[in-house]
Structure formats: C-alpha cells, structure tokens
Symmetry: C2
Amino acid sequence: MKDFPGTPGTLTGLMLRVGQFTFAAASIAFVATGVRFQEFTAFCYLIASMGLQVLWSLWLACLDAYAMLAPRDLRNPRLVSLFVVGDWVTATLSLAAACSSAGILVLYDRDLGNCKESVCQRYQFAIAMAFMSWVLIDISSLIMFWLLAAG
Amino acid sequence: MKDFPGTPGTLTGLMLRVGQFTFAAASIAFVATGVRFQEFTAFCYLIASMGLQVLWSLWLACLDAYAMLAPRDLRNPRLVSLFVVGDWVTATLSLAAACSSAGILVLYDRDLGNCKESVCQRYQFAIAMAFMSWVLIDISSLIMFWLLAAG
C-alpha cells in the first residue's frame, strides 16, 4: 500500500484523529451545557453522534500513537477496510447531526426570530465545532478510501 | 481504467443517474406543492439542493446515453475527476438539505407535537425522496472515486 499524508500510523494521521476528537468533544460540551437541549431531538442526536465520533477518533488516535512508538505497520487491506467503513459511517452521522441541528437553529434564529442571543450563540458554536469535526473525519475517510482503492 | 457496474457510459451508470433524477424531482414536487414551505429556510434549501441534483443527474444521464449510443469511452482520468468532484459536492449538499429538513420535521411532529397529519406526511415523503436520491448519488460518488483511485 502507498504512503501519503494522513495514512494510519503516521504523524499527520494522528493529528487528524486528535483534531476530530477535540472538535467533537468541544461540540458536546457546548450543547450539553445549553438550556433545555434535551427537549430537542436534533440536539440529543448531535450529542450521541459526537459521542460516537469522540470514541472512534480516540481509539484510532491511540492506535496511531502505538503504531508510531512500537513501530507497527497499519496499512494492511483488512484493517484499512475497517477504517474505511468506520470513517464513512461516522462522517455521515456527523454531517447528518450537524445539519439537522443547524436546521433547527436557522428556524429559531432566522425564520421565527425568537432566539436569545446567548442561547443561540452557544448552539452556533456547538454546530460549528461539529462541522469542523466532520471536515476532518471526511478528509480521513477519503484518504482511507483512496488507500484501499489504490492498493 | 477498470470496468465495473455503475461506471460512466454503462447501463447501470445510466440507471443510477435516472434514479437520482427521479427521486430528486419527486422531492421537489412534494415540497413545492406544500403549505407555506417558503417560510422555512430549510425547505427552500431542500428545493435548491434537489434542483442542483436534478440538473447534474440529467446532464450525466444524457452523457451516459450518448456514450452508449455513439459509442464513446468516458473513463478518462480528467472526466472521471470532474465526476468525482461533482458527485461529492452534490451528495454532500443533498444529505445536508435532507437532514436539515428532517430536523425541522422531527421538531414539529415529535418535539412540539403540532403538525397536521396531511401537511407532515407531504414533507415526510419529500424528505424520504431526498434521502433515496442521496443514497444513489453517494453510490455513484463512491464508484467514481474508486475508479479514479484504482486507475
């Protein structure tokens, strides 16, 4: 298998995973400390989805760090297939959660115009963090898919 | 470049494009005939996104049909790169639009509980069609990406 930035077991791969973990954790922190978030299904789904993202990215960051220290080669087709499926599922769920929450926010902030600035700003940050996390997991997902297809 | 189901210029490729076009057009029809859809940014965005999907899929369906009748080979790296970018952008926008609309629907139907059955059902159909269209464009997108990476 070829070697380029972002492949598992490299420093750039580890940095991508740490970035995904950090943004997802920040998103959870912003939503979970918000007012009455549990009354909105979309915000609960955002927490669940970002929770999955945190667990997945943390596990892969540990695996990358171990592969760099041991050292081990993680670029075998079976392992990369697992990364492809996991990254694709996590990326899709993250985008879906970020977009459904953004839909609610735009409804209250723009369409209905009854959103307190302090409350809305908290959710804006949470959604922005979720989108940042999605951008990074999507990059990882494309790299893994390219790695598997190129062989 | 390799040849497998769904590649441009084949019958399966054409069927995928026709499917994307049909579901996207059905989604627009269900939303655009709905009550007060223009008051909701998410539903307007769904129409715009599905409109883009209709145009993109129709253009590619015509290209596939031409390539089959002429016959021409569409599997050159430059053209496939264009398909990869176009499919990826369209797929992402479609999923984002479907999810933000689904967020609004769940809010009114489940969280607030004030959604008339006839109105809600129309939007449910529209969102279901948008998701079906996204599934098909995502399959096309993955096939194009694989085709480009495998070379």
